[in-house]
């Protein structure tokens, strides 16, 4: 361990066990001033436990934490904050009904007597935001901001509190490509100010753009710490997974899609407020991707199909029959299912069991004259736990106890159980570990190969390029480009990123 003044934080020989079960084993970690240090690892590797120890949420079983050369001891998040440690979580700590300025100064408002000095607050907020190179009005109500802007406000809030160390837990998870660039700009500004950043992400590509060093954890142990410049993607993946994997697996069909005859789904003149209305056909056996920056319309589009934005004018045909889907219940009747973008808030009852979640959309199909057929329900749940390789001891485990990847597999099981002809997947790999991601991509491909159709949205264009038969690129509520696999330029991430800008 180096002990010069360049090092702001050292975590020495950190151990943590829960009820005697070791989850962190002798972790050594150090962070330099003005450094962006990535922590990488699969779900369950120990990243979040380590960060929760750093931020005072958990207490370590043994080990030392040294900040600025001094050993520190704290047991609550409040004390950790006082030591200069700021956390930016995936779930924002912001109040949606308050203005940006009030959020940034929440609970430490500048006051004159008992009155809040609103003007000063707005001015200071504006300064902070400008320093970060962000153009957001401090007077805006938070809930009116886009997700990425909320995230930037969250960062501004932490920055304005003079934190020396900022932990960012998957900061780009909900951001589209262009917004990641803004975030990167902000991170560089923070570095210039001498702030150190611990950067947790599943997006390996990002760490090569923004991070100085990387630490890889696996099974509660540190596998490596290295300068980014002296490592590469396959080395990191190998350290993470503990075995060599092929760098990029393409999930391509052997059976080319036949784009004639009866379409599985046809959308005509869907008005998403863009220059041109959206019309397209989805063919049997096709995995159709929609690429676009956040707010380009792909999200609205699938919600319109699924009956959530039923008010948007359009014509819909399933297998050449004109239909109207006014609510999700109708969609299910026409065998259209959706894996929503937010699995916890929209996809799952997290307090319920795996079984309860899997059978949720087929309750009426597995009932007898009066009662639910429990055996059928159990068999269905067991089948999907097995087929999708959901890691659990029993189908009666509560979903909230599963890892992100396994939770997402439960959502997909629920979809598959409903035996859909058309499955919509809205960013299914969001916050999912690499292993599960591969499996999910494989599932989507298999679904297409079985003659069914999938609509696939992802904020990671690389995923679209790997699995889709065809990708539409959207901009401002219209389709601006169409790429077909094996026709024209090779379907690649670069191609899609370029087209979406």
């Amino acid at each position: 361990m180096n002990n010069n003044n360049d090092t702001i934080l050292e975590m020495v020989n950190i151990n943590k066990d829960f009820n005697g079960v070791q989850v962190l084993e002798g972790i050594n970690f150090d962070l330099k001033r003005g450094e962006v240090h990535a922590i990488i690892g699969q779900n369950g590797a120990g990243k979040s436990v380590l960060m929760k120890i750093l931020s005072g949420v958990y207490t370590r079983s043994s080990g030392k934490i040294i900040i600025d050369g001094k050993e520190v001891n704290y047991n609550t998040p409040m004390e950790a904050r006082k030591k200069g440690i700021g956390m930016i979580f995936q779930e924002f700590s912001l109040i949606p009904t308050m203005t940006v300025a009030r959020n940034i100064f929440l609970n430490r408002e500048p006051k004159r007597g008992i009155f809040i000095k609103d003007g000063e607050m707005i001015k200071d907020s504006k300064q902070t935001l400008e320093d970060l190179g962000v153009d957001i009005s401090p007077k805006k109500i938070l809930k009116d901001l886009s997700v990425s802007h909320k995230q930037l406000v969250e960062i501004a809030k932490v920055v304005s509190q003079d934190r020396k160390i900022i932990v960012m837990d998957e900061p780009t998870a909900s951001l589209a490509q262009a917004e990641v660039l803004i975030l990167n700009k902000v991170i560089r500004k923070l570095k210039e100010k001498g702030i150190s950043i611990i950067y947790i992400t599943h997006h390996l590509r990002e760490i090569f753009e923004i991070c100085d060093r990387v630490t890889v954890l696996r099974d509660g142990k540190k596998i490596l710490t290295d300068n980014i410049s002296s490592t590469d993607m396959s080395q990191i993946i190998e350290a993470m997974l503990g075995k060599k994997i092929k760098e990029i697996i393409k999930f391509q069909t052997e059976k080319p899609v036949k784009r004639s005859g009866v379409a599985m789904l046809e959308i005509k003149d869907l008005d998403l407020g863009g220059k041109e209305k959206v019309s397209f056909k989805l063919w049997p056996g096709e995995v159709l991707g929609f690429a676009g920056l956040m707010g380009a319309g792909q999200n609205k589009l699938v919600k319109a199909i699924f009956g959530i934005h039923h008010e948007l004018p359009k014509e819909m045909f399933i297998k050449d029959k004109k239909i109207n889907i006014k609510k999700p219940e109708d969609a299910l009747k026409y065998r259209v299912t959706m894996v929503p973008e937010d699995r916890q808030a929209q996809g799952l009852v997290v307090d319920a069991t795996i079984k309860a979640n899997v059978i949720m959309s087929i309750l009426d199909r597995i009932k007898g004259a009066l009662f639910l057929n429990e055996r059928k329900a159990n068999d269905t749940a067991k089948k999907y736990v097995e087929d999708l390789n959901i890691v659990t001891t029993t189908i009666f485990k509560k979903v909230k106890l599963l890892s992100g990847g396994n939770q997402q597999k439960v959502v997909i099981s629920k979809n598959l159980a409903a035996d859909p002809d058309i499955m919509i997947l809205n960013d299914p790999n969001f916050g999912v570990d690499i292993g599960s991601k591969q499996e999910i991509m494989q599932l989507i491909r298999k679904f297409g190969d079985s003659g069914k159709s999938a609509i696939f949205i992802s904020s990671e264009f690389e995923e679209l390029a790997r699995v889709c038969d065809r990708v539409f690129v959207m901009k401002g509520g219209s389709i601006v480009n169409e790429f077909v696999r094996d026709a024209g330029p090779e379907l690649s991430e670069e191609l899609l990123v370029h087209a979406a800008q």
Binding site: G44, L348, L372, E374, V391
Partner: protein, 320 residues
């Protein structure tokens, strides 16, 4: 894998939760034993007294079943108490003129009507059920006072009073039978039907349930209607047992129902539903009430005691 380690760590938590979830059964037996020992000279254990406990708790138990469903779906109905009174009065008035069958229909239709309105306010007007039912509660209570100008409506029909509460089959009160029937039906619906699962899904995560093709609005609406009809049944039971309908029926019941349901292990945040638990909760409260009377506490003291018990029960109940 780190996963398996964490799973093992969580295993212990599961056991602890199990014990906590079943604590209610130990508590009910515990209280029973304590009272049996300390009140043995005052007749706590006598068959008459035991049946009395069931008789006194019947209406609460019955309504707790409906309330369990509503709570499981994530909704409240604060108008149950006043619905009891209104339905009792309408039932009794109808009974005087048109006979038993008409009286039952009139009471149930009234209850259902209240449920339709409550449900519509929540599902269609999108009011929070808490507020919507406070408002309707006031309106219903006003009606109940108004239709008979605060007068009680006497009921003399012996067949009616026999069926609804005053009668006994052998040593068993008809109130006890009503309790068992309603609880059994409620339990089976909750535990063994697809409708029960829909209720739990709706309360567990409304959006996920909707995305799974469940018509959450219809489920909730149906529950409000069922709650209204169960309150009507409770109104008939009060009327039969006390040989008259009064506007005061059900007045203090909301408090006791919520207590019974929560003590029974149901979450006020929805997504959980145990009908048997609600019954046990109701019996615990009934037993404590009975015990306090036998100990010689005054009514005021009983009420204070009941409040304390609810506080303790809620403090001990799982928070997530």
């Amino acid at each position: 894998m780190g996963d398996s380690k964490q799973l093992a760590a969580r295993g212990k938590g599961v056991v602890a939760t199990r014990i906590r979830e079943n604590a209610i059964y130990f508590i009910v037996v515990g209280i029973f034993i304590i009272f049996a020992i300390f009140l043995r000279d005052k007749g706590f254990l006598s068959a008459v007294n035991i049946m009395n406990i069931f008789r006194q708790t019947a209406m609460i138990s019955v309504m707790a079943v409906g309330f369990t469903f509503l709570l499981a779906s994530g909704e409240f109905d604060l108008s149950v108490g006043s619905t009891v009174a209104l339905c009792a009065l309408i039932g009794a008035l109808t009974l005087q003129r048109f006979g038993i069958a008409a009286a039952i229909v009139a009471a149930l239709v009234t209850g259902a009507f209240v449920g339709v309105i409550n449900g519509a306010l929540v599902v269609k007007v999108k009011m929070p059920s808490f507020l919507a039912t406070i408002a309707t509660s006031g309106i219903i209570f006003g009606f109940a006072r108004w239709i008979t100008h605060l007068q009680a409506v006497p009921v003399t029909n012996p067949k009616f009073t026999y069926v609804f509460g005053a009668g006994n089959i052998g040593p068993i009160s008809t109130l006890f039978i009503w309790t068992i029937v309603v609880v059994a039906i409620g339990h089976v619906i909750m535990a063994n039907t697809s409708f029960g699962r829909k209720v739990l899904a709706a309360g567990g995560n409304k959006i996920a349930a909707t995305f799974s093709g469940i018509n959450v609005n219809n489920v909730k609406w149906l529950l409000f209607i069922a709650m209204g009809m169960i309150a009507a049944l409770a109104g008939l039971l009060y009327t039969g047992r006390l040989n008259a309908a009064r506007y005061t029926y059900g007045e203090a019941d909301l408090f006791t129902i919520v207590a019974a349901v929560v003590i029974g292990g149901n979450s006020i945040y929805g997504g959980k539903g145990t009908v048997i638990g609600a019954l046990i909760g109701s019996i615990i409260l009934g037993m404590i009430n009975n015990g306090l009377i036998l100990f010689g506490f005054s009514v005021d003291q009983q009420i204070i005691f009941r409040g304390l018990i609810i506080l303790v029960a809620v403090a001990l109940s799982p928070k997530d």
